[in-house]
């Protein structure tokens, strides 16, 4: 019996160790890292917006490259909201609802990521606006629900 209990305790301890090492990042690191990823998202989005605004000529390769960058940054961002990272030593505008309403948050992140993946297959100028619109709607919904307004 004792052996079994020890084994269970051991398993629990191992799980905790794995959980801690997997989530080795501190809240402060998570905050800073996700803000950096979001800056990457914004840079790629700005490059795409310049084309949609016709400030830059349409080039399917440029669109694809930026859409790939954007999807990559979003994919990383999704993993940078671990439990307990609502506060840290860096300023954050993340709302606590991210963690109380996790399923909805994850769903919105996943649909934004999907919109970024869909952007990668845009080959014609006319398709860029609607594809960006879909992505933008994801950004807006998520930020409206889960990001504090700031000056």
């Amino acid at each position: 019996m004792i052996g079994k209990r020890t084994r269970i305790l051991g398993a629990v301890a191992a799980t905790i160790v794995i959980a801690i090492s997997a989530g080795a990042m501190t809240a402060t690191e998570a905050i800073k890292d996700r803000q950096k990823e979001m800056e990457g998202v914004r840079d790629a989005l700005m490059a795409l917006a310049a084309i949609a605004k016709k400030e830059q000529p349409f080039d399917a390769k440029v669109v694809q490259a930026n859409a790939v960058r954007l999807a990559g940054h979003l994919e990383k961002t999704e993993k940078l909201f671990p439990e307990g990272s609502g506060e840290g030593e860096a300023q954050t505008w993340a709302k606590p609802e991210i963690w109380t309403d996790r399923a909805q948050f994850d769903k919105l992140m996943a649909s934004s990521h999907q919109a970024a993946v869909d952007l990668q297959s845009v080959t014609e100028a006319e398709a860029l606006g609607p594809a960006l619109g879909k992505l933008g709607f994801g950004c807006k919904s998520c930020h409206d629900l889960y990001r504090l307004p700031k000056d």
Partner: protein, 280 residues
């Protein structure tokens, strides 16, 4: 007794001018005001659908249920008269003679000329009637609070009709009107004093968010502060918001507002942008 007199909700008794209402002009005010964003059909549909008011509107004071703006005779505006609608919009009094809580921003709408309110009325009456579930607000002591609103209105209600500034262009004046009247931007962007009255000595300087979380950005000198490079940049921001990377237009309810504004004719967005960028 004095309290009862001072806080009574009376119809204005004002006679309406002869006016041939234009629902398409009314639709512009509908989008400028973002009516659908509070009177939406459910919490999940966002801006889609008709303004039936079936989603709660949360405030620090409590939960309000915005009214049904479709012409359903029982639960909507179907049985209202134009006079009753004008009173609701400009003096905040309901057909059954109660004060509306100022979560409904009649404090801003009251500067709309009656003709414009009637155009909006014509637009709302053209919508498909939908039955909704009428609900009372969930706030402490609603009866007494409504009376309190009567007192508050005596202090808070500002000037009655928008007066154009003859020294400014027509575009600037149109922008000033849309921003301060139907657009009701100052309801959030102008800070409130201890009595929750917008502090008109500091218009559009920003402040705490009315929902009690985060901050509402100030709108002064946005060009000088590098927020927007000029009128056409701000027009694009209002039309596309975050879709084009304008990330200041997406939190605290602004995403919905931007999407409503995107429905406005481009001339009106230019007017709004010109006026806003001139705020110092």
């Amino acid at each position: 007794m004095l309290f009862v007199v001072l806080t009574a909700a009376r119809p204005s008794g004002r006679a309406l001018p002869a006016h041939d209402p234009d629902p398409s002009r009314g639709e512009v005010f509908y989008h400028a005001g973002g009516c659908i964003s509070c009177h939406k059909a459910s919490e999940t549909v966002g801006m889609m659908g008709l303004p039936t008011g079936d989603a709660p509107f949360e405030t620090p004071v409590g939960t309000f249920w915005p009214g049904n703006l479709t012409p359903d005779p029982e639960t909507g505006l179907g049985d209202w008269t134009a006079e009753q609608f004008v009173d609701a919009m400009t003096v905040g009094v309901s057909p059954d003679r109660r004060h509306y809580f100022p979560a409904f921003p009649y404090t801003s709408y009251r500067i709309m000329p009656v003709e414009d309110v009637l155009d909006l009325w014509a637009y709302l009456q053209s919508l498909e009637p939908v039955r909704s579930q009428p609900r009372a607000p969930d706030i402490p002591l609603p009866g007494l609070a409504r009376r309190g609103v009567g007192l508050w209105k005596r202090l808070a209600l500002g000037p009655e009709v928008f007066l154009p500034n003859p020294e400014r262009s027509e575009t600037w004046n149109r922008g000033a009107y849309l921003v301060n009247g139907p657009g009701h931007c100052g309801e959030c962007h102008t800070p409130r004093n201890a009595l929750m009255i917008p502090d008109q000595s500091r218009p559009m300087v920003g402040g705490p968010h009315p929902r009690g979380e985060g901050a509402v950005p100030g709108l002064l000198d946005m060009e000088g502060r590098g927020r927007y490079s000029g009128v056409s940049d701000l027009v694009l921001a209002l039309q596309f918001g975050e879709t084009f990377g304008y990330d200041k237009l997406s939190s605290g309810g602004m995403a919905d507002i931007q999407m409503n504004l995107a429905m406005l004719p481009e001339d009106d967005l230019h007017a709004i942008a010109e006026y806003l960028l001139g705020l110092e």
